[in-house]
């Protein structure tokens, strides 16, 4: 119970207050996927718009999770907030989950815009497959962000690394294009963004994948999100060895 309470307090601080007061960061995190959306719409019309919306959905969730590297490193290295919480009855798991939840809060306004647009276009997104993909993608990307933050020693890397990773995760995986364009379509499930993209593309009807690839994507996401949570909980130990 205390762990959940800790997570909610951290999410209030690092998610809600940060997003309300630093709304420009919310906008800046939306700019990348929106620029792709515009280009795809210009060149691909309605079909491009749909691909841009699905890709933007995946990008927004993934990038906000990966950008936890910046927040977690800032709290640990720069302002020593993590050290202050270490010397207090604060659950490290609650702290990690709170940061993950704050990433979701940060993504929420952008997600709302995408989902509204998808509803307006009549795209099916309230499916079990899509919700599963988005939830597991959030856990996997937050796990990646929190895990990597533990290895970052200087703030200058904490802002640049997420930008590189976000591009690798969203352009290097079939998020904005069909997995069938890859030499081996199953390669698309290696990154959680690709696996989530495959499930959502299929669910919204912009691509049709065979059952084997969909099963592989679902299984990969289950494994990646489990690994993300395991690493998040394992690394969420206050004491340094």
């Amino acid at each position: 119970m205390k762990t959940i309470r800790d997570a909610l307090v951290i999410a209030w601080v690092n998610g809600w207050i940060a997003a309300v007061r630093g709304w420009v960061w919310v906008v800046s995190s939306a700019v990348g996927p929106i620029s792709f959306l515009v280009i795809l719409t210009v060149y691909g019309g309605l079909s491009g718009l749909k691909w841009g919306l699905v890709g933007g959905l995946v990008w927004t969730i993934a990038s906000n999770g990966i950008f936890l590297i910046g927040d977690a490193t800032y709290y640990r290295v720069v302002i020593k907030y993590q050290s202050m919480l270490t010397a207090a009855p604060v659950s490290p798991v609650g702290y990690a989950l709170g940061l993950a939840l704050s990433a979701f809060i940060f993504a929420a306004p952008t997600l709302a815009v995408y989902l509204t647009a998808m509803a307006w276009l009549g795209m099916q997104f309230l499916t079990a497959s899509t919700l599963y993909a988005l939830t597991t993608l959030w856990l996997a990307s937050a796990g990646v962000g929190f895990t990597l933050s533990g290895f970052v020693r200087h703030m200058r890397y904490a802002w640049s690394l997420p930008q590189i990773l976000t591009v690798v995760f969203t352009v290097g995986a079939p998020v904005y294009y069909s997995a069938y364009l890859l030499p081996i379509p199953h390669l698309g499930v290696l990154l959680p963004t690709g696996a989530a993209g495959i499930l959502i593309q299929n669910s919204t009807g912009i691509a049709a994948y065979d059952a084997g690839l969909l099963t592989a994507a679902a299984a990969a996401l289950a494994m990646q999100s489990t690994l993300g949570v395991v690493f998040l909980l394992k690394l969420a130990q206050w004491r340094q060895r």
Binding site: K2, R5, D6, V9, I10, W12, V13, I17, A18, R21, G22, Y75, V78, I79, K80, Y81, S83, M84, L85, T86, A87, A88, P89, V90, W238, R239, Q240, R241
Partner: protein
Amino acid sequence: MIVCRELGRRYGDFWALRHVTFEVGRGQTLGVLGPNGAGKTTLVRVLTTELAPSEGNAWIAGYDVVSQSEKLRKLIAAVPQESKPIDFLTPYEFVLSYLLLRGYSLREAKRRTADSLREFGLWDVRNREVDSLSGGMKRRVLVAAIFAAEAEVVFLDEPTTGLDVYSRRLVWNAISELKRRGTTVVLTTHYVEEAAALSDVILVMDRGRVLDMAPPEQLVEKVPGRHVVEIYGRDGVAFVSRAVVEIGERKLYYVDTLPSELPRGSRVVVRPKSLEDYVLTIGGWRHEDN
């Protein structure tokens, strides 16, 4: 309240802390004094359960800092070295969230937040973002949060570094108030006068080791002589003294009786010996640039 036995911490081949052994009673203020790199912060990080020791043991309120850290964390609070409050929060939000994280109910946390912000002269700026506050106010926000938590043992790692004289004294007042409440305080500092003014007992450290430990007045007693004649410039005079410390062109003579004549043409200060003289005369305290 705090017991350390042969505590050590190693980074590779480098021992940041070695053979540290001491005890501090409940309600005492321990001043940990030493130059940069003395091991003060490493000691605090081990005691606040953030860093595992490489050797030895430490207990706080009877709890082992390694094996019973979860129980211990309910009793302690810390302002880490160079820490800052989260810049986009207001002082009110920062203190309130810290108290909520410590497990206080919302109602109690609000009451304590208001009381603590008033105590530290932060009530008028409670709704301003921390980012817009002065450095001294930011530090006071941190101390206000710790103060409101009413922990049994409080660690303050160089809490006054970089503060102006007013803000520094507000922090000193807070430490005095913590003492009055019966809180055990561990205060690390490299300001000798601060350690002397606030500590019941001082742990002198250098190069990761304990050089001495005693109440400040006992440490001062170890300084030879009764007075200090401090001369800057080429004086050409040699006093009969119990000890001499030379720092560039500055000479400090530790004398039993004041000289009848002082050299002309030099800046001369005659003063009683202090804890600073203890630090200067022990000789084990290296200069930071050495």
